[in-house]
């Protein structure tokens, strides 16, 4: 595939992620923060998000497996996940976290377990999509092109 085709593919892919609600305006803000001094800024922050989210999802799983669930603790983890997903523009993950927090407040175990499943699913979707997008970007850069805005 030639450079122009790759660039077009990237723009289309990225646009679809916004349309499908995987990413929101905050992701654009993140891209705008990147500059020649920090050309890997977005990838770095998103990688941090991946690491941190996986840690939080593990903590959430453990916390919800307990005999006597500490909902405050569960809520604290969801609050973190909600914050980070919001900060990078992972809109669908953030939305599930909002519902998740409501179930925590109600101390609704079933609701929480359902949300945990949902948030794992949304997280894995956005991770796959962002990784695909980064791969496309890398291909463009390797071909000597620049990433279209």
């Amino acid at each position: 595939m030639d450079l122009v085709q790759l660039q077009r593919q990237l723009v289309e892919y990225r646009t679809s992620l916004y349309h499908e609600g995987f990413l929101d305006e905050q992701y654009t803000q993140l891209q705008e923060l990147q500059d020649e001094n920090n050309p890997d800024f977005v990838v770095e922050v998103v990688s941090l998000f991946f690491e941190d989210s996986e840690r939080l999802l593990n903590e959430l799983t453990k916390a919800l497996e307990q005999q006597s669930i500490d909902f405050k603790r569960v809520d604290a983890h969801v609050h973190q996940l909600k914050g980070s997903s919001s900060s990078i523009g992972a809109q669908r993950v953030q939305k599930v976290c909002i519902a998740f927090r409501n179930y925590c407040e109600e101390q609704n175990v079933e609701g929480c377990l359902k949300c945990l499943q949902q948030v794992r699913h949304e997280y894995s979707l956005v991770k796959t999509k962002l990784e695909s997008m980064f791969q496309l970007e890398q291909q463009i850069l390797s071909a000597g092109g620049s990433i279209p805005m």
């Binding site: 803000q29 770095e44 941090l48 941190d52 604290a76 609050h79 914050g83 980070s84 919001s86 900060s87």
Partner: protein
């Protein structure tokens, strides 16, 4: 003089405002640091209130070490919801210090809770900002800081 800020405002090394950013979320810390650096601020980050206080010289084992000294920082920006010490509690501690009380403190939160906002402003917070922060929010802060230095 107007209240605007131009992007070609030149600052010399040493003229850069020094901001202490406090947030327990790693991603948010990285973001706020970049936002501030993009606005030509020197940035120090802290992951909680206690670390922030230690940095500022107000740690529990630094009694009276601050007497007569000048604040290291020109602005403190802190998240509200943090485990242990909230941003509000940190704000109070800063305002209780004779050396630090003049340093403007900005509180950030992902939640728009009017009572929380007025509580912070009443306690002396300069501003309350909604997360996630944008470059335009930080430009606003930078303008305010430059005006303060007059």
């Amino acid at each position: 003089m107007d209240g605007g800020c131009s992007d070609d405002m030149t600052t010399e090394i040493g003229d850069e405002p020094h901001v202490l950013a406090v947030d327990d979320n790693l991603i948010d810390r990285k973001l706020v640091e970049k936002l501030l650096k993009n606005s030509s601020c020197k940035v120090t980050t802290a992951e909680n209130g206690l670390r922030a206080l230690e940095y500022l010289g107000l740690g529990s084992d630094q009694r009276n070490a601050m007497e007569g000294t000048v604040s290291k920082v020109n602005l403190i920006i802190t998240d509200y919801c943090m485990p242990g010490m909230t941003g509000y509690e940190l704000l109070k501690k800063i305002k209780e210090s004779s050396v630090l009380r003049e340093v403007p403190v900005v509180i950030m939160s992902s939640e728009n809770v009017p009572t929380r906002i007025s509580q912070c402003l009443q306690e002396g917070a300069q501003m309350f900002m909604l997360k996630p922060l944008k470059q335009s929010d930080v430009k606003q802060l930078k303008c305010y800081l430059m005006k303060c230095r007059g």
